[in-house]
Symmetry: C2
């Protein structure tokens, strides 16, 4: 193990003899020195020396990520032989432990059993690069004063279609095309009256893929027009979850279209995770990230990304009290979806956390902070009046969480906080009821 | 003259013999190769060779700015001897021409007879650096599409106090302190119910200078509270110009406070000019800048700065049709102030162009574009809905101008247009009447 504490080139040379390990990247983090071993896309953290049990404290400013080349289908680390995609997580861990004569140093908390790995986020970063904006991070002394911490606003309201959803949608469609033998056969379908619908429509247009967006027949005309404007086919359904699902399934079957869930599709989650990578590139010494939670795609993606890059970062989910399935699930340690739809001004946060995002949120989120409708409106207005950013109430929910008593009571060691301003799409005509 | 086309060091060496000329900065511009000679803060452009009359086309990517050291009180360029602060502009020009055996190559259009020079703006850049934000420039494909040009939004709504006014106020107060023998005696006064009042109050607070802000007794309570929040003393007056002026004069006399006009004070104009420097740093190849005009401090400052850095840039002033004194003055070629106050939703644009800003605007502005109240509201809403920026209607006025038929009819060679989003302070409760 000691030999790992060497320069990148030496490292590469050393592991060449094992014919399977490759140093892919050299990471820099000011706070924690944790090694990650990535085996076929699964990441394992090594916080203690694998041979002598001693806590690892690297003195250099780099940490190494060692991974098996993606192009290999099997590999060998000492006694760990024939790792294939179907080798179980436990097998890999056990073999690594055995190899390093070590019984308890390897945890796979951040990556093990989930529907995606950091590798997927990393690939998504490259995939969305030509199409998505690297959104700016903004600060406000006024808001810092109100929160009692340094806040860093990740401005996804400036993302394409005015919301982070473009990242996931574009990643999912691009990956579909990469894998497809007959690219012209690819079609996509989703149900969404909100940002995901517009995002999928635009991403599909950019990639020349037919898209079908199932929207309730009570959806605001302006949203239907926007989706049609991106060239997607709008398929109307009756209000209610049942009709939405049935209509989506019908379109999928009739058109041979692939369903891209707004929050549960692994490639969508990986796409949203790119925000975590970007934000930690922009502000590497964040202590925490606060993001609004609905279906959980964004929070899960950010967990996978941020916990990998900076394992000691704390991720908080912000949720309207009126739609607090995530908070209730978190408290009960089991997923408890809400009856659909709840009533909240944060209209982007009405979905419940789903089966793919729940395990990631359960393991990696520090806490779920709920806020009242009044708090959401107040925070949204503050962002308009003081920060001059036209955020939607769903984004205001994350701001409200940071201003809440519960968050304010957190230790002052949580000094620098990233806040995801998820989007800026709102019906301005409704404003009169707020002011 | 040919000798000037050499490296910076050689240049410095060469002019050392003249004991008066100093190379202060090396500028880069992609579009025009114009030399500026700055003599005691006055700038002269040299577009043709001063010895052989040939048009100058530099092949390198740099242009030189040559200036007489500020610390000298007199100097000599060939036959030009004993240049002092009282040497007239014409004398300097004539002497330079004589020295270079040249009769018509030197123009002093951008600098000659005004209440400030580029040097003042340059100094303001340094002066405000520790306090003001370098505001970001944002773009929007949607807005580009609507305008038919590439738009670059200079986001002064993110400036301290939410408006560009902080630049001028901070520059003016800082310069007062620099010059004062007894710094503790400095007090300032202004009349403003808008952004300038808040800006002066904050700048004064930061510099520990007592500030008196004369506000009409009908001013919104929120604005009075904001000014008081910055620690300034609010002095109420009756509505109307007469009471404002009288109250201000009374305070100035009683308190020994120096009047800092919101748009006519040369140091305020120089402070606003820093926007021009910043914007051309951020987007060097702009073809035009569009800024809203009221008293004219911002437009005049930008003219002095931008025309100096990029002489072929076109500056447009945007004005509400309901407060079109600048447009009328521009057409008549003489200053025609409006009766005070006009009625427009762009409440920051109610003042008329003043005596100090008018000569600069008259000479340097390409055109004044007026827009209706409907156009202002529509453009402001567009910025909120599509660009997600909470701009105030005064900023929306500049956007409306670029979207107007008159601007759209301009030649397509005006491709890249900077738009000053002057501020983001507005009464959100009024929004309901718009949407």
């Amino acid at each position: 193990m000691r030999a790992w504490m060497c320069e990148r080139d030496q490292l590469q040379e050393k592991f060449k003899t094992h014919q399977l390990v490759e140093v892919v990247e050299l990471f820099h983090s000011c706070y924690s020195w944790v090694w990650s071993v990535v085996v076929l896309g699964r990441s394992f953290e090594v916080t203690q020396c694998l041979s002598c049990d001693k806590q690892l404290h690297m003195t250099s400013m780099s940490r190494f990520i060692i991974c098996i080349s993606k192009t290999r289908t099997c590999g060998e680390i000492g006694r760990l032989t024939h790792v294939t995609a179907s080798t179980s997580n436990r097998q890999v861990r056990a073999a690594l432990q055995a190899y390093f004569h070590c019984s308890r140093q390897i945890s796979s908390d951040t990556m093990g059993e989930y529907c995606l790995t950091y590798k997927d986020v990393e690939e998504a970063v490259e995939r969305i690069k030509p199409a998505a904006h690297v959104t700016p991070v903004m600060t406000s002394k006024t808001m810092d004063g109100l929160a009692g911490r340094e806040l860093f606003f990740k401005c996804e309201l400036f993302q394409k279609v005015g919301a982070f959803k473009f990242r996931g949608a574009y990643n999912a469609i691009s990956k579909l095309l990469e894998k497809a033998e007959d690219k012209s056969s690819i079609k996509v379908v989703t149900h969404s009256s909100g940002n995901h619908g517009q995002a999928l429509a635009l991403a599909a247009k950019m990639k020349n893929v037919p898209a079908f967006i199932v929207m309730q027949n009570i959806s605001p005309k302006i949203k239907v027009t926007a989706v049609k404007g991106y060239g997607a086919t709008v398929v109307e359904c009756e209000p209610g979850e049942k009709s939405r699902e049935e209509t989506k399934d019908k379109v999928a079957k009739e058109q041979g279209a692939i369903f891209i869930s707004s929050s549960q599709h692994p490639d969508v989650i990986a796409g949203q995770g790119t925000m975590g990578v970007e934000l930690l590139n922009q502000v590497p010494d964040l202590d925490a990230i606060v993001a609004p939670v609905s279906g959980g795609g964004m929070v899960a993606g950010i967990c996978i990304a941020a916990k990998h890059i900076k394992p000691d970062i704390k991720i908080f989910a912000a949720e309207p009290l009126n739609a607090d399935d995530c908070a209730k699930s978190f408290a009960a340690k089991e997923r408890i979806p809400l009856p659909w739809p709840p009533d909240t001004v944060a209209d982007g946060l009405k979905t419940s956390v789903g089966p793919n995002t729940w395990p990631i949120i359960k393991d990696n989120v520090e806490d779920v902070i709920t806020v009242t409708e009044e708090e959401i409106i107040k925070a949204t207005k503050l962002m308009w009046e003081r920060v001059k950013l036209c955020v939607e109430p769903s984004a205001g929910t994350a701001v409200a969480a940071v201003l809440s008593d519960k968050f304010r009571a957190l230790p002052p060691s949580i000094k620098k906080v990233g806040i995801i301003l998820s989007g800026g799409n709102l019906d301005l005509s409704k404003l009169s009821t707020w002011f």
